[in-house]
Amino acid sequence: STVICVFEKDAIGIDNDLLVNSGRSLETLVSVGMQLGVSTRTFARSTLI
């Protein structure tokens, strides 16, 4: 089984080590709660729902 998360374009800056490994077609062993990335912009919640 697999989970895929899709973020809006340019909404997240994914941690570099994860991107580097993936760019080598290499999966990274991670655990729940480890940092994935940081938001790159702020959204107004009122526009979301």
Binding site: V6, T28, R45
Partner: protein, 586 residues
């Protein structure tokens, strides 16, 4: 009817059939002798008693005495197969085929039963007949249609008739097809030629160390012009020749069973049927698959989850083991995860070949669904709890019971253990007070791409992959087009609950129906396979202040097709909160 003959007559017919098959073998010997470019004459003694072959039985249709929906079953040896259910009619037509193995001292009597099936009388047997397959093929060598009376099992009255045909497949043709088929499996780029590395993979899967050490020699012998590649036909000829001189296939590359090297024809027939089983290649499929059959079939091999219920399909099989290499983020070290090479080969055969996927017709998808449902029931039974200690032993370095919320005796079924919870704090959440930091949603092997284009360049090779396809037609994809993609792949030993990666509000859940293909990298990396857009899945849309909308897609897979969410639409969720879990089932 085909039964009721005297023993003498039966023996006589068998002798005729053996004679017929022997003629095939003599023809094959001549064929090989004449095409042996080295000028070597192959002497092979074939005993008339060394009988073996494949019979193609076709259930054409029946004439019954009243209208209903009908299905027919064939029982042969330990196996039972069924047709589809007909329309409501007095004259059902099935045209269902099944290949049966005829072997020395093996079963020869087939029992064909016809059932009526409707809401009142579900699958009630109406009539049956028995026929000796050996007799049939001797009497009707050209596979003509033959009628058999159907008898009432309680009174022996005739209740209808059934029309069958049966033919022996030419062993020479079977062997030729087999050689091409097995070699085409490793022709990954399907250019009709095999490189040395493609050839090496195949020899490795045969489980013969001697042959593995000679693979350069074997390859060189076939590569007559020395250009580093050989055609499939050349290699098929070489393989056949080598089999005559010194068998190189010790184990069936499909089911792993040790083959009798002295009985080459039987070994080849075993592998041919093994390839066919469960691929959807045959019209009549095993509606009543036994566990033994299922564990020998392709479908059951098409998942890395297989060994959870069949530990004999071991991952620690020495030379036949392969590895998936991942990098441990914490230790920054490469880790080799064992995977049985037979499973790898099976997956490649189906998922990375156009031919393989063509075989995966609707029937095969249904088998995957049924196997997963069956597995779900099995793993939810009290008896399944007995598997937990062996599972823990198998993954002793990867499952830390100290962080599991409940002690071992708490789990009454394997499925309960599979969806085990962890103690509070067992998974620290990064930057808990900062909602602008997203976290990993599962214990898993992760792939992350800043753009969809990167994901398809480096990882997802299915030609039909798109965000629109992933989210399904009931989710507006506009916000996510050209977005970033993170793939969390869970392995059997992993903690199987998934968590919220970002804080926000769950806007909606959308179920998307689909198949239960494996989500193993072999399938994901196949240009012919589109697991992320064809598998059963549930899409959750989470609205956040920091990341906008985030689509959380939980995708089911072979054996583990049950997707369960523990939060509801409209709920506020905080990153790290448990969101749901995968469990065994369809």
């Amino acid at each position: 009817m085909g039964n009721g003959n005297s023993r003498e007559a039966k023996e006589s017919r068998r002798s005729r059939l053996r004679h017929k098959l022997q003629k095939f073998r003599i023809h094959r010997r001549h064929l090989r002798s004449s095409r042996n470019s080295a000028g070597m004459v192959i002497q092979r003694t074939v005993s008339a008693e060394d009988f073996s072959g494949i019979a193609l039985l076709t259930l054409i249709g029946a004439e019954m005495k009243f209208k209903d929906k009908w299905l027919a079953c064939v029982s042969f040896g330990e196996q039972t197969f069924r047709t589809e259910i007909s329309d409501t009619t007095q004259k059902p037509i099935w045209n269902s085929e099944k290949k049966l193995l005829l072997e020395k001292n093996g079963p020869s009597l087939a029992r064909v039963s016809v059932f009526e099936t409707n809401r009142v009388a579900r699958n009630k047997i109406i009539g049956y007949c028995e026929l000796d397959i050996f007799d049939f093929v001797v009497q009707e060598p050209e596979s003509t249609c033959k009628s058999f009376n159907l008898l009432d099992p309680t009174s022996s009255n005739v209740v209808g008739s059934i029309f069958l045909s049966c033919a022996i497949e030419d062993p020479v043709e079977t062997e030729r097809r087999f050689a091409k088929r097995i070699l085409s499996i490793v022709d990954y780029n399907e250019d009709g030629q095999l490189s040395f590395s493609e050839f090496s993979d195949l020899i490795k899967a045969f489980g013969n160390l001697v042959a593995a050490n000679k693979k350069e020699e074997l390859f060189k012998a076939a590569d007559l012009n020395g250009d580093g590649v050989v055609t499939i036909d050349e290699l098929a000829a070489l393989l056949a020749l080598q089999q005559e001189q010194e068998p190189i296939i010790n184990n069936c590359p499909v089911c792993g069973e040790a083959l009798q090297v002295s009985d080459k024809l039987n070994a080849m027939i075993h592998m041919t049927l093994c390839f066919d089983e469960g691929t959807g290649n045959q019209v009549m499929t095993g509606g009543f698959l036994t566990d033994r059959q299922a564990s020998y079939g392709w479908m059951f091999k098409l998942s890395e989850w297989t060994h959870l219920s069949t530990y004999d399909v071991g991952l620690n099989t020495g030379s036949s083991a392969s590895y998936i290499v991942v990098i441990d983020r914490k230790s920054k070290r490469l880790v080799e995860e064992l995977i049985d090479s037979k499973i790898v080969l099976s997956m490649r055969a189906i998922y990375q070949s156009k031919i393989g996927l063509r075989l995966m017709d609707q029937g095969a998808k249904e088998i995957l669904q049924r196997l997963s449902e069956k597995q779900g029931k099995k793993m939810s039974s009290v008896e399944s709890a007995q598997k937990i200690p062996r599972f823990l032993e198998f993954f002793k370095d990867q499952i830390n019971m100290a962080e599991v919320k409940y002690p071992l005796q708490h789990f009454k079924t394997f499925n309960e253990f599979f969806i085990r919870e962890l103690k509070p704090g067992a998974r620290p959440i990064a930057c808990m007070n900062r909602n602008d930091v997203a976290v990993c949603a599962a214990d898993c092997r992760l792939m992350a791409f800043q753009s969809v284009e990167d994901s398809t360049r480096f990882w997802i090779k299915g030609k039909k992959f798109s965000i629109r396809g992933l989210l399904g037609k009931n989710v507006n994809p506009n916000a996510f087009l050209d977005g970033s993609l993170v793939i969390f792949r869970l392995a059997p030993q992993d903690y199987h609950r998934f968590h919220v990666p970002v804080s926000g509000v769950i806007e909606q859940f959308v179920d998307v129906s689909g198949s239960l293909y494996t989500v193993n990298p072999i399938a994901v990396n196949s240009k012919y396979c589109n697991v992320f857009t064809e598998n059963k899945r549930t899409v959750a849309i989470i609205s956040t202040a920091e990341f906008g909308k985030v689509a959380f897609v939980a995708i089911g897979a072979t054996m583990v097709g049950s997707i369960n969410f523990v939060r509801k639409e409209g709920e506020h969720v905080k990153k790290g909160d448990e969101l749901g879990y995968f469990s065994f089932g369809g």
